[in-house]
Point group: C2
Chain length 512, copies 2
């Protein structure tokens, strides 16, 4: 290609997530002669290096000049050249695996190789947001049969790093989410590690919830520890509670989640593939999955929970992970606190056998820990719960938690709830017959969680409790007045509590 | 909202097409405390004005400073405020009509009001590209039943302007596309107008093809004429050949096409809704639809063409447009030239009754014009063709074309084919049994069409012709050496011609 068809490369410090964006000035001679369109996909190349990018057109030479080609940050990194290098551009062919996506759109099943090609193209930022959205929509809902879920799981796991533990039994637990305050991992990990099983737990930060386990653990300790340091800690203490983001596990999953989130699609296949791909990458061999069911949980009906359980089991068996699914009570938050600091308080009350500890959080954690302990071939079926309880009551779990905190690096500040607060009161007398998980989560987020660690909701009354007019249902904490006001506005519109007659309470029966 | 939660508005001269994009500096205090994510959707507001926008994060204060909020061009226009105004931002709820899209995703049918809400939200730039892609995918393929196609057609037509003609019979024609050189409109319009029917033709520019009718007509005359001037011209001459883009007809259709194009989805429902929405907006009452069928046409099988015809008829009847569908031979390009100047030459040869005029272009144009003339209640069924032929042979069509050209504004330069060229030769002797429409279109585009008006392909041999080794199959014209070389590379890989035994030629039977 002659020099006249080349442009001067520039890095534009714009973060467009995993969509590569190229910026051309409207007066760029190549923009005019090549007939690029809005949303056109370009190939940018120099020698053997090449990337695909979506075109944005710029009218301001202070951002990009007519002889320049700007690339968003990730695109610039990926191309791996220097500012000032001369690059060629041309019309890009769509990534080859889009052909498979189109066949999927017209109702075909895809095979393992096709899912691999799709995952690799997405990992290489060769898909635009439009193309990713097409893939997600077509594989959503009833779009994937269970073998396709398996193929997608494997394909996503293969795109990133993989943690190695050199042991036969690497235990793990995962909750599909949706229940505020459900911070069982911080209790389960020290119990299971104290028993002697390996449990190197990686957790996520909150995306749409008021706290992820990584956000809450961060109140007590550093959670951003690389794979090498994680191995040392796990070698010493049999467990850890780290943020999974540093390890680059199944990165395609993160990309797809970012595109999926705004669509709020409810796809069992993608949920299973997303969770299990991360677990393959994390090196887990034995896994407990917690599926909470309730009217405001992610899974609202027992039949859906059962279908989801079968799918976890089917894929788990074929990827060589021993998966056990427990279906739990998801009608209301677990524990009292919602938000990192308030949840930490609940966790530490349970670990220190404080009489004020929330009984539901303690009980659920012991049951989950007991199930994991029974993965140990030396433990008789049915004895896990009492072993877990002994470890907790003897103080060994609390001690193990302190060791894990010290080795990850203790947080400098003592946790305290947000300095501003207000109470939400019962407007009538009766029995609490409904608590809206989603609304309490939104109130906690508006109050500032998880960014403001002390912000959130502190629950005083739970399902089945008797209340009189004016009793405190929960207290909202925030750090800043505007946040407090936003949260209060939502509480006024919808406090998230239903008070009525005890016999009107929805009843479920659960596996736990 | 307190002043501390406000940002200073700035217009960023970046064209992101119909996706509103907001730019925040990574150190913007609101970005940190509000917990926005990559691809988060923000609401930007001041008083009652508000827009939705997708977030891009910027690390360069020369592009945007921490106290500023940048908006892409269309987003800034839409908000309608001034640079320096203080605006508030917050997490946006998804546009309300996305709820309907989600229900469509899970297999439900949507009603007229739901399609209206979706079209209005898209027209108001409230959808992100991800959300638009979800809508397109879910309504693609077999996703729309025929009533839903009707609802979508009406909804799209209602989002833009509408041309008014104050006559009972406003004729129009439309080809679904895919056949290079198929420039019948430039012959049909002067014939029909000379007969006396009103035919105010609005056409598109090429998107992925080497020439749209607007690009080709532009070789002869100005095509960017606003609705008022168009009325004057049509009042004087009963017809025109204008670019449709100035009239803002069914703008949602253009937005959806831009998102749909990279997906290369094949959706009959969207095709019909797209065409008929534009025709409602253009004020057409009587419409001929041309569906070419052939192995490298948009429609490859007669059964698909018949299904498409039924769908056009169903929707046409209900929106009050008299639609007649003709299924035509789409096995090869029509005429000889591909590219604006070369196609103009063919058109003018037909209009001036030049003996060298391509017979297929002449014949097809006469048949289409004849069918339109039969919309005239005073014309007996079956007489349209001979009326059209009389108008053409008498020179009245050519004269009408000159009047239309003069009134739209004659182009200053005489057309000439691209100054560079090479010939593509037959590599064996035999009969031409296949010509690949798509490949010839790509060659013409690589050579520079439609931006370089003289670039393109000039065909010398067509289906059924005998050729000897070394005979010229076609000639490629370009203006610039690199373009010529790109085109030549593709010709070497795949010249787009199949030469074999006459009896191997695919046979079709057509409605025309």
């Amino acid at each position: 290609m002659p020099e006249s068809k080349r442009l001067v490369l520039r890095r534009l410090a714009i973060d467009t997530y995993h969509e590569n964006v190229a910026y051309l000035h409207r007066d760029c001679p190549l923009y005019r002669t090549e007939g690029f369109q809005a949303l056109s996909k370009l190939e940018v190349r120099r020698g053997k290096r090449s990337i695909l990018a979506v075109l944005n057109v710029v009218d301001d030479a202070r951002i990009i000049e007519p002889q320049e080609l700007g690339l968003s940050e990730q695109a610039f990194e990926q191309l791996g050249l220097n500012e000032g290098d001369r690059v060629a551009i041309g019309h890009a062919e769509p990534p080859r695996s889009m052909e498979a996506v189109r066949r999927k759109l017209s109702g075909e099943r895809l095979n393992q190789q096709e899912y691999r090609d799709i995952a690799q193209d997405i990992a290489a930022n060769r898909y635009s947001k439009i193309e990713m959205a097409a893939f997600i929509v077509t594989s959503g809902q009833t779009g994937l049969d269970r073998d396709e879920v398996l193929y997608l799981t494997r394909a996503m796991a293969e795109t990133g790093e993989r943690l190695q533990w050199d042991e036969d039994l690497v235990a793990d637990k995962h909750c599909i989410g949706g229940i505020p305050g459900n911070r069982t991992s911080m209790i389960v990990v020290p119990i299971v590690a104290a028993h002697g099983l390996l449990i190197p737990k990686t957790s996520s930060r909150a995306i749409t919830s008021p706290a992820g386990t990584a956000d809450t653990m961060e109140v007590l300790a550093n959670v951003e520890i690389g794979p090498a340091r994680m191995r040392e800690i796990v070698h010493a203490h049999r467990g850890c509670l780290a943020w999974g983001g540093t390890a680059r596990l199944a990165p395609v999953d993160d990309i797809l989640i970012a595109v999926e989130r705004p669509l709020a699609m409810d796809s069992q296949g993608q949920l299973v593939a997303s969770i299990l791909a991360k677990k393959i990458a994390a090196g887990s061999t034995h896994l407990i999955i917690d599926i909470p069911v309730g009217p405001t949980a992610k899974v609202r009906h027992m039949r859906d929970a059962l279908r989801l359980r079968k799918l976890f089991e089917y894929v788990g068996d074929r990827i060589g992970i021993h998966v056990e699914v427990v279906i739990t009570d998801g009608r209301q938050p677990i524990g009292r606190g919602i938000g990192p600091v308030l949840e930490t308080r609940d966790v530490m009350q349970v670990l220190t056998n404080d009489p004020k500890a929330p009984a539901d959080l303690r009980e659920k954690s012991l049951r989950l820990a007991g199930r994991i302990i029974e993965f140990d071939p030396d433990v008789r079926g049915g004895q896990g719960y009492s072993i877990a309880r002994d470890i907790l009551e003897s103080g060994r779990a609390a001690m193990r938690m302190q060791q894990i905190i010290e080795s990850q690096g203790r947080a400098p500040d003592a946790p305290r709830p947000g300095r501003l607060h207000f109470n939400v009161l019962a407007s009538r007398s009766g029995t609490v017959i409904g608590i809206d998980n989603k609304n309490l989560a939104r109130i906690a987020r508006l109050a500032g969680a998880p960014m403001d660690k002390g912000a959130g909701v502190d629950i005083r009354r739970k399902l089945g409790d008797q209340v009189n007019v004016g009793d405190v249902l929960y207290r909202v904490h925030a750090e800043f007045p505007p946040d407090l006001r936003f949260a209060r506005e939502l509480c006024t519109q919808n406090p998230g509590y239903e008070i009525g007659q005890a016999e009107d309470m929805t009843m479920y029966s659960y596996g736990l």
